[in-house]
């Protein structure tokens, strides 16, 4: 019997190396008991609720231990900064159009942003040595990407924004998994 994978991933992402194992162990014991008493779906719902309710506290603990601060800094440098710099670059390009142009970017510019974000997030993922750290890096990459999108001067399509926020953690985790498999 296994708890929902997404909830486990969120737990690893928010709890950090110091807490994740203990918290996951305690939750798993309770989860098995609940599954035996009320069935697997009730156990899964309880597990997901517990993870979501304790997320804020676990992030707070992680920040106090200094680990989350490093992750946040890494995500800012590796994902948010390149995106912000690219946004500034495209603004520079558009401000040089003789008769000026709007805040909508050509699809090629959005594609370049996505490629750059994926490459930078993948580099971050390749540097993570443990699953907890990789999950943390992935979550921080998604937050970094969201912050960069928020700061952007351009009018972003929803599809692009969603793609960036998903592609950053996905490429980070993919490279971590690929590296682990070798």
């Amino acid at each position: 019997m296994k708890p929902p994978a997404w909830a486990q991933l969120v737990l690893w992402a928010v709890a950090g190396e110091n807490q994740a194992e203990f918290v996951a162990g305690d939750l798993h014991e309770e989860f098995l008991l609940l599954c035996a008493e009320r069935g697997p779906s009730a156990g899964s719902r309880w597990y997901a609720r517990q993870v979501l309710r304790s997320a804020a506290t676990l992030v707070g603990l992680r920040f106090r231990s200094g680990e989350a601060a490093h992750l946040a800094a890494a995500a800012l440098i590796a994902v948010a900064m390149p995106l912000v710099l690219l946004d500034r670059l495209w603004s520079f390009v558009y401000s040089h159009i003789p008769l000026k142009d709007g805040l909508e970017r050509a699809p090629g510019f959005w594609a370049a942003n996505v490629v750059c974000v994926c490459a930078c997030a993948a580099i971050c993922g390749s540097l993570a040595h443990t699953q907890a750290r990789a999950a943390g890096v992935a979550a921080a990459a998604a937050v970094g990407a969201a912050c960069a999108l928020w700061c952007s001067a351009a009018t972003e399509p929803w599809l692009y924004a969603g793609l960036v926020i998903l592609a950053a953690p996905a490429s980070s985790m993919a490279v971590f998994a690929w590296r682990g498999s070798r």
Partner: protein, 186 residues
């Protein structure tokens, strides 16, 4: 160490490949030239008014907030100056003045302006040619050639020019709709 090398290679590729591509594309024949044309269901003199009148210019060139003659006493013609003020939201909403000097003025068929922005970022030529197709129809051909003075803008020219061309086509499409709407009202 192996991973550091791989990361360094990825970063180098991310920088070197685009820069090399931009340098090569910057050498192409039509570098800096944006052009478009449109056929309008109106006579050349009706279209000409939209190119010549400062108030009308603001209606079809997006992001233009003001258009005026440098010397209102001097009529439009070769050597006279026109000042365009553009609002640049890509530069924090800054107002940017572009000065245009007429180098060709032949109503209702040809109009060419030598343009330069006050910041000294670019200079170039903007020309409009109206071809009478007969039966109250006109083909408007617009060409915009720009030279960038900053090295970085010059490097980015292959990216700037297609965006400028897209904007030009959008404005000319807007002009067509406005002229045809007014022509129908007459």
């Amino acid at each position: 160490m192996k991973w550091v090398k791989r990361i360094a290679i990825v970063l180098a590729v991310l920088l070197i490949v685009p820069i090399a591509t931009l340098l090569v594309l910057g050498q192409r024949k039509g570098a800096g030239l944006a052009q478009t044309s449109v056929e309008i269901n109106a006579a050349p003199d009706q279209v000409w008014a939209w190119l010549d009148d400062n108030g009308k210019l603001k209606q079809w060139i997006s992001w233009m907030v003001d258009a005026k003659d440098a010397d209102p006493a001097k009529p439009h013609g070769i050597g006279s100056k026109r000042i365009w003020t553009m609002k640049d939201e890509n530069n924090g909403g800054m107002l940017m003045e572009i000065a245009g000097t007429y180098s060709e003025y032949a109503p209702p068929s040809r109009l060419t302006l030598q343009i330069a922005d006050k910041e000294g970022m670019f200079h170039g030529e903007s020309s409009y040619r109206l071809v009478d197709l007969g039966g109250g129809r006109t083909r408007v051909e617009v060409k915009l050639r720009a030279h960038y003075t900053e090295w970085f803008a010059n490097l980015m020219e292959p990216v700037i020019t297609p965006a400028a061309e897209k904007k030009l086509a959008m404005d000319v499409g807007h002009l067509k709709r406005l002229v045809e709407a007014k022509a129908e009202l007459r």
